[in-house]
């Protein structure tokens, strides 16, 4: 049977949607009160964040095509899932992201050029985890979920008030590590939020190949309080994340959010989605665009949308100009960095290898 014809069975959990595709507000008894502190200005900030992010994504794809980046993993379509969730966290909640959480890192203050430097191959991590409370990005699928569980266990053991947040995708839910992470977090009732962006595709594999039931239903089976939300609805994402974080802070243990979204771009710039998915599906999801939806809602509210859009556009232009200037003039790391930080403490063989290689290079630098 072709995997293209697999279906995911109807789930036990409702899919929370607070904004429908026309931007109409839908009351939600369970989640509405988590929006009570949200002002119009916050929504305008969400819009700016998402517009800047989409621009960063487009710029990065272009820079990859120009040879400035080795690779890029687009997040096109997942802006609301990322911004809505990260904006609900406190600054000291510690986040364990995968490699596609550009929006999460950017929202925590990581500069676009630092983010992209990793994809250029200039460094292995674009930020200091201790400065932004985000672990190094994870490329091995799902491994970071265990780190989040362990961090959450630490919070529990030392009596902290923070929450540990793991980001991963639908594909990662097939990994043993993600399942083990849910087991550990549940066993110790650790304050961990497992935030799954179900973007429907793990490279070429549809979500039904990972799970024949809704992903959120599986999380429930681990004993995690779970929400399934429309991941292109920033209000639903924000409210569910607030609910999950409050649950953890009240000492009620780990939670799971399945944000149902869509990877509108390729897996990475090395991928060709036309080989495995139909244009109609993409068109269907374009109609559910997270940015358009928030704009429609702002219109519904009677806000001055034009000024908000203009402000967002200006922020995107500024980011893009700075990003291009920084990336195209970015210097390669010094050769010494090849050997730096392999170990935290003295490690004689590494130091000897570094010295020998630098001496070897030095033999050529004296000229004729």
């Amino acid at each position: 049977m072709s995997t293209q014809h697999m279906d995911v069975a109807a789930g036990c959990l409702p899919t929370h949607q607070l904004l429908n595709v026309d931007g109409k507000r839908i009351p939600d008894e369970e989640l509405d009160h988590h929006l009570k502190d949200l002002k119009e200005a916050d929504l305008a900030d969400f819009l700016r964040d998402m517009v800047v992010l989409r621009r960063m994504d487009n710029e990065a794809t272009a820079l990859q095509r120009q040879g400035q980046l080795g690779l890029w993993a687009p997040l096109l379509g997942q802006e609301a899932a990322q911004i809505g969730s990260v904006r609900a966290t406190e600054d000291d909640d510690f986040i364990f992201p995968s490699y596609r959480e550009h929006g999460v890192a950017w929202a925590r203050g990581v500069k676009a050029e630092d983010l992209l430097s990793v994809w250029r191959g200039a460094q292995a991590s674009g930020w200091d985890p201790n400065e932004v409370n985000i672990a190094c990005q994870q490329i091995v699928i799902g491994s970071q979920a265990l780190h989040a569980a362990g961090y959450g266990m630490g919070i529990k053991f030392d009596g902290g008030k923070q929450v540990s947040v793991a980001y991963f995708g639908d594909g990662a839910t097939s990994q043993g590590d993600v399942n083990e992470a849910m087991i550990f977090a549940a066993s110790y009732q650790a304050p961990v939020l497992f935030f799954c962006q179900n973007n429907q595709w793990a490279i070429s594999e549809p979500v039904a190949l990972q799970s024949r039931t809704q992903i959120a239903d599986r999380a429930h089976g681990f004993g995690l309080k779970t929400w399934r939300v429309d991941g292109n609805d920033i209000l639903a994402v924000y409210a569910a994340t607030k609910a999950a974080l409050a649950h953890a802070r009240h000492g009620l243990g780990p939670t799971f959010i399945e944000a149902v979204t869509y990877r509108m771009g390729s897996h990475t710039t090395a991928d060709d989605p036309t080989r495995y998915r139909k244009t109609e599906q993409l068109e269907e999801w374009k109609a559910k665009d997270p940015i358009d939806r928030l704009v429609k809602y702002l219109h519904e509210m009677g806000a001055d949308v034009q000024s908000y859009e203009q402000r967002a556009q200006n922020a995107a232009d500024d980011m893009a100009a700075q990003l291009r200037a920084a990336i195209t003039t970015m210097e390669d790391p010094k050769v010494q960095e090849l050997f730096s930080n392999v170990y935290a403490e003295k490690h004689e063989p590494t130091q000897r290898a570094a010295k020998e290689y630098l001496d070897y290079l030095g033999d050529f630098s004296g000229g004729e």
Binding site: N130, F157, E180
Partner: protein, 333 residues
């Protein structure tokens, strides 16, 4: 008063837990039961369930959560119950634990100790007798320790726990009940284990670690009766390897035999022989030899005595390097 290696390891963990409140123990059955070998006996009742943590049965989960705890500022010491159960944690050890300091450009330290009872000779079923040290010595970012004696077990575990790098700590399980009257000594601050010359000799340099150290001491005693003087070196640290100590010895003896339980191909013996050949080529009187486990899966225990390097196989290798020596000596006379 005589103590065993098990008790020395227990005291090492006890003293580490007392000294630093960030030290936390994780593993299967290590709490209430005190570990299947009783290395952690009594520690949960003394330090509490948040310092000595019984975990679900998932090795990747144990190492992965230890990494998360290290991100939080803890200094985890995890127990993998048996050597052959290390592999479910391979990604977390090799792709995560080993690389996070490098990946984060030095901003995140991973002071995690992974204790693994290892090696054969105890008559156990499959997966309970393996020697997987080469995988980890091959992985940049990890340190690998393998004590052989009761007193080293204490001191080196303290060194592993205070080290800011991840340490894979291989405990020679068939020596767990070994007794010693020696005093247990706290390590010097910032010290790390170096190879030690267990027994001085002039004719052949014998290199081993963990359980094979004792096979080499036995070999040295037996060889002495035949007038051959073996120098026995216990490596203690498998990464970094202390090649200087080996090279100094080989420059005197001109002959090298390396012994380990692990398989031969791409094992530590290959690395040691290659490096010493590069460093000491002009001193060598015979090609360095290896005496190792065979390139087979660890066999059913009724066959393990053939697989493990024993006294006879070690002495056979000594005879081989000495025969050449004697032949050339004879020719010169």
């Amino acid at each position: 008063m005589a103590t065993t290696m098990l008790k020395a390891l227990n005291k090492s963990l006890h003293d580490a837990l007392s000294e630093d409140e960030k030290v936390i123990l994780l593993g299967e059955d290590i709490g209430t039961l005190g570990g299947v070998f009783r290395v952690t006996d009594g520690l949960k009742s003394e330090f509490g369930e948040h310092r000595v943590v019984d975990t679900p049965l998932a090795e990747s989960g144990i190492v992965g959560t230890a990494i998360g705890l290290a991100y939080r500022g803890y200094r985890p010491v995890v127990e993998i119950q048996f050597d052959g159960f290390t592999y479910p944690a391979f990604d977390q050890l090799v792709s995560q634990l080993a690389k996070l300091h490098y990946r984060s450009r030095g901003r995140v330290k991973m002071p995690v100790t992974v204790r693994i009872p290892y090696g054969g000779g105890i008559g156990s079923p499959e997966h309970h007798s393996e020697s997987p040290e080469a995988y980890f010595a091959h992985t940049a970012g990890l340190r690998v320790f393998a004590p052989s004696s009761v007193e080293d077990a204490y001191t080196m575990l303290r060194q592993a726990i205070t080290c800011d790098d991840p340490v894979i700590f291989f405990e020679p399980k068939r020596r767990y009940h070994e007794k010693s009257d020696a005093e247990l000594i706290e390590p010097e601050p910032d010290s790390s284990p170096k190879a030690r010359v267990v027994r001085e000799g002039n004719d052949v340099t014998m290199v081993g670690y963990g359980p094979t150290t004792y096979t080499l001491i036995d070999a040295a005693l037996a060889a002495e009766d035949e007038g051959t003087s073996l120098e026995v070196i216990d490596l203690r640290s498998l990464d970094p390897l202390d090649f200087d100590t080996i090279a100094q010895s080989v420059q005197r003896t001109g002959k090298l035999v390396v012994v380990h339980e692990a398989s031969r191909t791409a094992g530590l013996g290959a690395e040691i022989c290659a490096e010493i050949t590069e460093r000491c080529f002009d001193y060598l009187e015979h090609a360095p030899l290896r005496v190792t486990g065979f390139d087979v899966p660890y066999p059913p225990s009724r066959l393990e005595s053939h697989h493990l390097p024993d006294l006879d196989r070690v002495l056979h290798a000594v005879d081989a390097v000495m025969a050449h020596h004697e032949a050339t000596e004879g020719a010169a006379q």
